[in-house]
């Protein structure tokens, strides 16, 4: 006459509500450990370093995007197009012998400018998806037109090589940059007024406005942060290849499909709230490393690129479901 009244199905549901996430995480970890242990060359120091290095580029852009998502401004769909324009600008600078510093400054200036405009449009009430979808078209168009859609290459040795292929004590510089940026971003979120405002406005935009924190300036700031991260990744990527082309971040190139989707996947798989106000850049960094681990495993297992793109899509879907479930459980205890 007690809970038995409610029936067995409800008990199972209750169990899943309390332990569902643990069960889910345990299953994923077990599966992962099984495949990792049965795949030769997977758990070697060299391969682990490869995984983190591969996570670095997409992870840095993910960290930038996390600020946008946490502040309640959803996603920028123009991440890879911003990177495309910046990589063209940087490579043209390098090819015309302006040197690393000026080329980098040019790429960053473009990122700040385009980020600010997108942020302003979002801040005055534009839908982030629509605004950045439009911006994506414009940015890619400009990048493609400016470079005549050609590969721009500049000869080695050049003064950006340290960023692209250099390493310290065997750790690639891009990995070090990833770690440094992750730490700075996490500190910025937790310890600065700006970071606090990101969380507050993301948690409740109306209360944010009522307590003097307006989304207009916030949207501009977070879009600049995201765009600057895109620019940095573009510069590092170009330095690595000593060249650039507008489509370097599109699905034709690279391993696991569309770069923007990969970046969004790092934010989602890390378990940041899509609605904002809850999450961290640390989560995004771990999300990037997890995705990279799975991708690397699939490469070693000999999966085709289609299957790897599919796995990223599945990870996004499952993480959204799992984390929504987790948060609902947490809230209902109030």
């Amino acid at each position: 006459m007690n809970t038995a009244l409610a029936g067995g199905g409800v008990d199972a549901r209750g169990f899943m509500q309390r332990h569902g996430v643990k069960v889910f995480v345990a299953a994923v970890v077990l599966l992962f450990v099984y495949f990792a242990a049965t795949t030769p060359n997977y758990l070697t120091l060299f391969n682990v370093k490869t995984i983190i290095r591969d996570a670095a580029l997409v992870g840095i852009m993910g960290i930038g995007l996390t600020f946008v998502t946490l502040s309640g401004n959803f996603f920028l769909l123009s991440m890879k197009e911003t990177a495309a324009l910046c990589i063209i600008a940087f490579a043209l600078g390098m090819a015309n012998d302006y040197g690393f510093v000026i080329s980098l400054a040019g790429a960053l200036a473009i990122a700040v400018f385009t980020g600010a405009i997108q942020g302003a449009l979002i801040g005055i009430g534009g839908n982030p998806i629509v605004v950045t979808l439009g911006a994506a078209g414009i940015l890619y168009g400009v990048a493609s037109w400016w470079s005549d859609n050609l590969v721009i290459s500049y000869p080695r040795p050049h003064d950006a090589e340290w960023l692209g292929t250099g390493s310290v004590l065997g750790v690639p510089n891009i990995t070090i940059a990833f770690i440094v940026i992750a730490v700075i971003a996490e500190l910025a979120l937790r310890k600065t007024v700006f970071g606090r405002q990101v969380y507050l406005i993301g948690a409740n935009r109306s209360t944010g406005k009522a307590t003097g924190h307006e989304n207009l300036s916030m949207a501009i700031k977070v879009c600049i942060v995201a765009s600057v991260c895109c620019a940095f990744v573009a510069v590092a990527f170009s330095a690595q290849l000593s060249s650039a082309q507008a489509n370097y971040f599109s699905s034709e190139f690279g391993s696991s499909g569309d770069f923007t989707i990969l970046v969004i996947a790092t934010v989602m798989v890390g378990g940041n709230s899509i609605m904002g106000g809850y999450g961290s850049t640390l989560r995004t960094s771990l999300g990037a490393i997890f995705i990279s681990s799975v991708d690397n495993l699939m490469v070693l297992k000999g999966f085709a690129s289609g299957a790897r793109v599919l796995s990223v899509g599945l990870m996004i879907v499952f993480s959204i479901i799992a984390f929504a479930y987790l948060r609902r459980g947490r809230r209902s205890e109030g």
Partner: protein, 510 residues
């Protein structure tokens, strides 16, 4: 006579929190039971269980003396229990008739609007909306009418028991009366009603018995005619409550601190001027839609002004703040009537809520400093009797009363000189209510100028030193000192009807 419904030893825990620790309740045919208790006493948990939204409970559930299976809203429906929730589930763009039959899948597959309209008329009649055309879109209805339509929709399923969860919380005086009349009418037809409300006068007026919950236990079930405010409050709190309303200072400061000049705000028919004095609580009385709330929001920059000035007699500034940000800079604090919408960051820790209006105070060069933030939060928590041990928890875990204390208390961080509070105690239980009144008075005594707007006659006639009344956007009077009575205010904020209405509808100060 056996009860229609009987709950025995209902228990429910959320982790370590025992929300219900053995609740008994009986419901007979044709009776209205008031379910009362402080926020956090377990009312909403019990209501959720009774309406089938919460399956994870222990205890017996008998209908007509036989065990019944609850655990889903469908089961509750089958037993004959329906709930009208505070948040309405009507679709504004559809007509009344369509809304009533939404989700019904009996009858023919194709249904003409005129058929639905004919079917819905008797239901609308039952809830006192006989004059409403069933083909009106719901968005044209007042909030009160929407509540009644929601009930009409529920009784289409012919439930035996109807749970009304704070049906009048967001309603003005006249809409509330319609809800009460509807409840009486359904009772006369043999239906049972569980009525959840914080409004004492309603509880006394319509309920037959009161079930009092305290700390998750059923404290007592008492016939309502044996109760008065003091007795009921004592049962709810487990102790005698001192005075509900704080003492007013003898002679308020006559010097104006702020002057509102020819303010043109939404809903106001003509410009309004008045002054706000240091150490005084000014009340703005009016029903929903009277413009009283709009005046406060406009003074705080939360709504666009159509003209006017706000003179600060100390600094000489005269412009109305164009945004909350500007208002905060001028040390103007504003609490909207909807704390969940724009008064709190529910998903963030209480401490962050308390420091949000003034991050400058707890930072140097853009870097947050933890000690001053915690220090300030502790101070505010002490002043507003918020449990200091919970400052790191999310604001969403707090009860309505404690949430309101956080929503109000956060403004201490800007050291406000003008405090505007719209509906200071909406959805707040009686114990926290007295505390909030005391704090508002204390802020005034410390020299702040305070303005409150309220549709609650009890508080608007007892808390302020001076009251300005509004009816449909027109200023209808000003009362001060001994002139402030609930009768006097009620007359000024309602359209004088030829028949008048029963004095019993007028709450008296406790």
């Amino acid at each position: 006579m056996t009860a229609w419904l009987e709950l025995r030893g209902i228990k429910r825990s959320f982790g370590a929190i025992h929300a219900l620790q053995g609740v008994d309740l009986t419901v007979n045919h044709g009776e209205i039971i008031g379910l009362v208790g402080e926020n956090g006493a377990g009312k909403s948990t019990l209501v959720k269980i009774m309406s089938g939204f919460d399956a994870d409970f222990e205890g017996e559930f008998l209908v007509d003396g036989k065990p019944a299976k609850l655990g889903s809203p469908q089961n509750a429906n089958a037993i004959g229990i329906a709930i009208a929730q505070q948040e309405l589930s009507l679709i504004p763009t559809m007509t009344v008739a369509e809304n009533i039959f939404l989700g019904h899948n009996r009858g023919p597959g194709v249904c003409l609007l005129s058929t639905l309209a004919d079917l819905s008329r008797p239901l609308l009649e039952q809830v006192g909306l006989a004059n409403l055309s069933p083909t009106t879109p719901v968005r044209r209805l007042s909030i009160g009418e929407r509540h009644l339509v929601e009930v009409a929709r529920l009784i289409a399923h012919e439930p035996q028991l109807l749970i009304l969860d704070e049906p009048t919380a967001a309603l003005g005086e006249s809409d509330s009366r319609r809800i009460l009349a509807m409840a009486q009418h359904l009772k006369e037809q043999g239906k049972s009603i569980v009525y959840v409300s914080h409004r004492m006068n309603e509880i006394f007026k319509i309920t037959d018995r009161c079930a009092v919950l305290r700390d998750g236990r059923s404290e007592a079930t008492v016939p309502s005619r044996e109760l008065n405010t003091d007795k009921l409050v004592a049962l709810m709190l487990g102790r005698e409550l001192g005075a509900m309303f704080p003492e007013k200072p003898g002679a308020p400061n006559p010097v104006a601190r702020f002057k509102v000049e020819r303010l043109r705000a939404d809903r106001l028919q003509s410009p309004v001027s008045f002054e706000i004095r240091c150490g005084e609580i000014l009340g703005i009385a009016g029903q929903l839609g009277s413009g009283s709330g709009e005046i406060l929001a406009t003074l705080a920059g939360a709504r666009k002004a159509h003209g006017g000035a706000l003179y600060d007699m100390t600094t000489g500034k005269s412009r109305l703040p164009a945004s909350p940000r500007q208002a905060i800079r001028r040390k103007i604090a504003y609490c909207s009537p909807d704390r969940k919408h724009d008064g709190l960051f529910l998903g963030r820790p209480i401490m962050e809520n308390l420091s949000a209006p003034n991050l400058k105070k707890i930072s140097t060069m853009g870097l947050l400093r933890a000690p001053p933030e915690r220090g300030q939060a502790n101070d505010i928590a002490k002043t507003f009797t918020i449990d200091a041990g919970r400052l790191d928890q999310e604001a969403s875990v707090l009860s309505g009363g404690n949430q309101q204390k956080v929503a109000l208390g956060k403004w201490l961080s800007i050291e406000p000189e003008l405090i505007l509070v719209d509906e200071p105690t909406r959805g707040v239980d009686v114990g926290a209510r007295a505390e909030i009144y005391a704090k508002i008075r204390a802020l005034a005594n410390q020299g702040a100028a305070v303005v409150i707007a309220s549709t609650d006659l009890l508080e608007i006639s007892n808390l302020p030193d001076r009251v300005i009344t509004f009816f449909k956007g027109v200023r209808t009077g000003e009362l001060a000192g001994g002139e402030i009575t609930s009768d006097g205010i009620l007359r000024l904020i309602t359209n004088p009807e030829p028949t008048g209405f029963g004095a019993s509808a007028i709450p008296q100060a406790s």
